[in-house]
Amino acid sequence: MPETEVKSTFNKSTGLPRKRFYRARAHSNPLSDSHFPVPISPSHVDYSLHFPHFFPGSSKKIQFADIGCGFGGLLISLATLFPETLMVGMELRDKVSEYVKERILSLRVANPGQYQNVSVVRTNSMKYIPNYFEKAQLSKMFFLFPDPHFKEKNHRRRVISPFLLDEYAYVLEVGGIIYTITDVEELGDWMKSCLENHPMFEALTEKELEADPVVKLLSSATEEGQKVARNEGQTFQAVYRRIVPSDQTS
């Protein structure tokens, strides 16, 4: 696929990048190895590149991660809701991550002082989360409308799985929250049961869900969520908190 010329991909009136120039394959195979730079360890992540407004000079760390962020709608909403929190989207598709990058840069230009706390990286989150985040670094992780991978033999490509939850539990601080939502019932059941059966996660109560302003964004903030809403599709969410396992060495 030839690279699209970046200049021509901006909408002249809004200055925002045009999505159609960044269309890519709908689904990607997270098992195939593509070539993109991977930080050797979390201390190698170049914060001044992602957050030049804060770095150098700040000791902040990324606290929110939107896994498979797609076109970045959630990040854009969270950026102004939590202006002091650094957050990053992780996206496997090159063009899509490029789009999000351009989107953030134009928002920064159009709204001076804002959107300085969001960024995006192109990576395979299923392989490289430990390269980006230290133990207990994150307070929120988002998995919104992940690819369903219906076939049984492709279940291990799912971004929520019993094994991957071990890694998410590692990067989440105790009390940190994992948010998942999907319009595919089977996947919703799967994500919920993975979380339910994991010794280091517990469900938020109805009350807690209501009190959390982020929960409302799950179905409305992302491009995928809006598409589902337009089609009046049903959604299935599972929101869980990282806990200390009852028996530390259970």
Binding site: L31, P130, K135, R156, P162, Y170, M200, T249
Partner: protein, 434 residues
């Protein structure tokens, strides 16, 4: 898909080549060698070959049918395990000097790439080609009784990366797994491992190429310290509880194999660290490096947390580049093997050569023993090498093949984009769709 490549690519011959492995009994009563699907054992006390017994009392037991990828003794020497490409793990009871019995056979869904036995002898873990580590409860086994139907349960997983090395920490609190994606994962080994090991303690991150080997200092004094070797030509020293990197030793540079400016590095992996072995006192570390005819000894300064070059022990006269190391603490001997099996198109499809260095100690001088001085003598060489004297021509040919084999084993296949596309078209799952 990466892991499918590693399975299907065997057709092209290269990755099917298996390096020779060696393991020395912790009390030095025997030495075991794996070459291809062949397991060979010599009893040093009795001075004779050990016969391996597989009988009907163990359901499904059989000799290995494909390359053995991992062998090891349990900490007290009462167990020995072998596993590999035939998707089986055999547990042997090495009690008698004349014969070892296979007391259990565990089947895996995928090929096995690494094994570990907990130091208390209760659990065997193995890693499969999909990056999943499985655990088998072997507690309370009796050496004379076959273990009943042992089924593995999944313990943890590295997402689609091949696990190259698996180790228990000396105190059994952690299980460590190293992979081809430069990672070392330290996981709390739970009291009830059959429910999975969910609590990750740390990741040791710093290597810039595949991690090929892990080693602990057996001395109880440093249960927290880990050594690792890598395709990036370094040996690193870590604290496992935090994943902190204490020191990096550029072994290939130190041994004079690489220019200090790093030229000629990485690309060809010609100086990858292939194996590591620590001595009982934790002060010396033996390192095998691709292209080095001999080994490097590093000294571990315990209080300064450093690794420095002690000496290079060269092996004169033949192109002996070790593929695997084993250490006998009681005799202070380092056992080395070089060799491969399954060489495509070679007149010597399999080949193994053993050398021993004695006097691995701080005070003594290390000596490479001649074949006439080797413990067990000609009989041992005949048993473990398959022949007492190795043909010089075979040696030179094999040395080159060993190098290629080791690299292919450890390096992820890099496809050009063209190649990638054509592979996609011929992929089985795509074909089915049409």
């Amino acid at each position: 898909m990466e892991e499918v490549d590693s399975e299907s690519n065997n057709k092209d011959g290269v990755s099917e080549v298996a390096p020779a492995l060696i393991a020395v009994h912790p009390l030095r009563s025997s030495v075991a060698v794996a070459l291809g699907s062949d397991l060979r054992v010599f009893d040093l006390l009795a001075g004779c070959a050990v016969s391996l017994v597989v009988d009907d009392s163990v359901s499904g037991a059989a000799f290995h049918k494909d390359s053995i990828r991992a062998i090891r003794f349990g900490a007290n020497g009462k167990l020995f395990v072998s596993a590999g490409d035939d998707k089986t793990l055999n547990i042997w009871s090495p009690l008698s000097s004349s014969s070892w019995r296979c007391i259990s056979t565990v089947s895996s869904e995928k090929r096995i790439s690494a094994v570990a036995i907990s130091n208390d002898g209760s659990y065997v873990c193995f890693a499969d080609k999909f990056g999943v580590v499985w655990v088998v409860d072997i507690s309370g086994f009796d050496t004379n009784q076959p273990l009943l139907d042992k089924r593995p349960t999944p313990l943890l997983s590295h997402y689609c990366s091949i696990i190259t090395s698996l180790e228990f920490s000396p105190d059994d609190r952690f299980i460590l797994s190293a992979d081809r994606d430069f990672k070392i994962r330290v996981t709390n080994f739970p009291k009830k491992p059959l429910n999975g090991a969910h609590e990750i303690q740390s990741f040791c991150l710093g290597h810039t190429e595949f991690v090929s080997c892990l080693a602990f200092f057996q001395a109880q004094k440093y249960p927290q310290r880990l050594l690792s070797g890598s395709g990036d030509s370094t040996v690193r020293l870590w604290v496992i509880s935090s994943g902190a990197l204490l020191d990096t030793c550029e072994v290939a540079t130190k041994a004079g194999l690489l220019e200090a400016n790093g030229s000629g590095k990485a690309e060809d992996h010609g100086h990858a660290v292939t194996d590591l072995c620590t001595t009982l006192d934790g002060l010396l570390v033996a390192v095998a490096i691709q292209s080095l005819q001999g080994i490097v000894l590093l000294s571990h300064n315990v209080s300064a947390h450093t690794l420095t070059l002690a000496k290079v022990v060269s092996i004169e006269g033949e192109a002996f580049v070790p593929t695997c190391l084993g250490y006998s603490p009681s005799a202070r001997e380092l056992w080395m093997i070089t060799g491969v099996s399954g060489l495509p198109g070679s007149s010597h499809p399999s080949f193994a050569r053993i050398r021993v260095i004695s006097g691995i100690d701080v005070e003594q001088d290390a000596v490479v023993l001649g074949d006439d001085k080797i413990p067990g003598g000609e009989k041992l060489l005949e048993t473990l090498q398959g022949t007492a004297s190795v043909d010089e021509n075979a040696f030179v040919a094999a040395a080159e093949a060993v190098k290629t084999a080791m690299c292919n084993l450890l390096i992820k296949k890099q496809y050009s984009s063209e190649n990638r596309e054509s592979r996609k078209k011929t992929r089985n799952d795509r074909k089915l769709k049409q």
